[in-house]
């Protein structure tokens, strides 16, 4: 496949991902509204918000890094997409996953976080820094069960290549990691809750006490960029977990279904549980998910 074709497909995939991300969040908020007896937003509301934000006429900037922050953030999201094989078995939708493996993705997630952190820091707003401090602190704890789960999977499949991991799960639900390695799945899915930043792990943004956290100063186009990234990243992260634990997807339909369910799970949990403080959430991650993560490895070693 020529480079041009690949780039074409990558852009197409990105477009699909972005749209699916926006629609998915709309659908999910609609579902939440219906659950609480409301009509709720329009399904296309995320699109409208995005257009509105890009149509804001005036812009402010605190400095170069304030400018670069969203770029970093979006690069992080798009980058993770680029390195992620989306559809198993298709040469068109593997993006640039030949450059690196699972480790690359799990570390590239930091790229966007770093950008956000720096941009928000440049904003000079203390709440931004507080939010970032909380987010990073929480993330260190999230990373532990996540790492254990990744190690467990890597032991299980003796590979770090996502494509190979997906390949090993083909052939029915009984081959999914979810079934063959339940503890790793539990640990990772608990970590996923933290990664997505929904309640109970949304103290980073916590509007009531810490006006929206890191993006306090972001507005207009910058905010639009951040929203775009959010839409992409949520799908891609769900795809990552889908690939690792739920058998991957062989076509876009399955991908859409699975990512929707995975994403819905986090929102569902968020609806049920109240918010943790950072000094509560970190010990929590060091208790339950950590135990599952260790179990996942111990069982494999035995």
């Amino acid at each position: 496949m020529s480079l041009f074709t690949r780039i074409l497909f990558v852009l197409l995939g990105l477009f699909i991902t972005l749209n699916w991300g926006l629609i998915m969040s709309g659908i999910i908020r609609k579902i939440i509204a219906r659950l609480s007896m409301r009509r709720g937003i329009k399904v296309v509301q995320p699109y409208i918000n995005l257009i509105k934000n890009f149509s804001i006429r005036s812009q402010l900037t605190h400095g170069v890094m304030f400018y670069l922050g969203p770029v970093f953030r979006l690069s992080g999201g798009v980058g993770v997409f680029l390195f992620m094989p989306m559809i198993y078995g298709s040469i068109y939708w593997t993006n640039f996953s030949f450059t690196g493996d699972l480790i690359l993705i799990s570390y590239f997630l930091f790229f966007g976080m770093l950008g956000m952190a720096l941009g928000a820091g440049e904003g000079g707003h203390p709440y931004s820094a507080i939010g970032i401090g909380r987010g990073l602190a929480q993330f260190t704890a999230i990373e532990v069960p996540m790492t254990l789960a990744i190690i467990s999977i890597a032991i299980q499949y003796n590979s770090l290549s996502i494509t190979e991991i997906v390949a090993a799960q083909q052939g029915g639900i009984m081959n999914w990691t979810m079934v063959t390695n339940p503890f790793a799945t539990i640990a990772a899915m608990l970590a996923f809750l933290g990664m997505m930043g929904h309640s109970p792990f949304n103290v980073v943004m916590a509007p009531q006490e810490n006006p929206i956290g890191p993006p306090t100063e972001y507005h207009g186009t910058f905010l639009g960029v951040l929203q775009t990234n959010r839409a992409i990243l949520h799908v891609v992260e769900a795809v990552l977990f889908m690939n690792l634990f739920f058998g991957g997807a062989t076509n876009w339909g399955i991908l859409i279904l699975k990512t929707f369910l995975i994403y819905f799970y986090t929102v569902f949990v968020g609806m049920v549980f109240p918010r943790f403080r950072v000094d509560q959430s970190i010990p929590w991650f060091f208790k339950i998910p950590l135990v599952f993560g260790i179990l996942a490895i111990v069982l494999l070693i035995i």
């Binding site: 509204a33 009509r39 005036s58 306090t216 507005h219």
Partner: protein, 224 residues
């Protein structure tokens, strides 16, 4: 627009805004003029809308996505939370609350406005981005309402901020507020709601009015 000099001779100048000298790392003296050094002193410009279909489309998007700054000035602020309850459900109109003025497009002045609060309201309004809309809630914002003869409560909000929609009542019920939102949407879609540009165009007049009652101005002329 008053001269900068006046600001500094102001007897109400807050201590933290006075000019002062700090000693730098090499022992050199650094003169700090907080109002000029900490704040941007530029003045805003009129942001011209696009023409034709493009602007119509954008205005539609703006009208369908109204992000409200969660800022309660008076008793009306208690009428706002029910808007988002299942009974009234303002979300379905694209209305949402945002905690930061940077991301908000609508400022609701929810009730009487004391001079002290007006100052904060002006700041918040100026920190919002163009296009931005003001909804004035309750009689107090229209003509002072029951505080019409108070020494400390403004009577007419439109002398201080460009109001797009007034909602009468003391207090208006959430249904009225929703109606107000509808009205605002209409205005936006029609392209009438150019309060932000109007504010910039008539900035001198607005500022003069504001400064007439806010005697301890204590801030730059325009709060970016």
């Amino acid at each position: 627009m008053s001269d900068k000099k006046d600001i500094h001779e102001d007897k109400f100048l807050a201590p933290e805004n006075r000019k002062h000298v700090v000693i730098g790392p090499d022992g050199e003296e650094i003169h700090v003029d907080p109002l000029n050094d900490y704040f941007c002193t530029d003045m805003p410009k009129v942001e011209k809308p696009y023409k034709g279909v493009m602007e119509k489309f954008l205005n539609w998007a703006r009208a369908e996505s109204l992000w409200v700054l969660a800022f309660g000035t008076g008793c009306g602020s208690i009428e706002l939370p029910p808007l988002f309850s299942p009974r009234f459900d303002a979300y379905r109109f694209g209305v949402a609350m945002r905690p930061t003025p940077r991301q908000s497009g609508v400022l609701i002045i929810s009730g009487y406005l004391a001079v002290k609060t007006l100052k904060r309201a002006i700041r918040s309004y100026e920190q919002m981005q163009n296009p931005k809309y003001v909804i004035a809630l309750g009689s107090c914002t229209i003509n002072g309402g029951m505080y019409w003869d108070s020494y400390n409560t403004i009577n007419r909000l439109d002398h201080y901020l460009p109001v797009d929609v007034y909602i009468a009542g003391c207090m208006p019920r959430p249904e009225a507020v929703l109606a107000g939102f509808m009205k605002l949407k209409e205005r936006i879609k029609k392209g009438d709601a150019e309060g932000a540009n109007e504010y910039v165009e008539k900035l001198d007049w607005y500022k003069a009015n504001q400064k007439k009652i806010i005697k301890d101005w204590n801030m730059p002329d325009y709060n970016w």
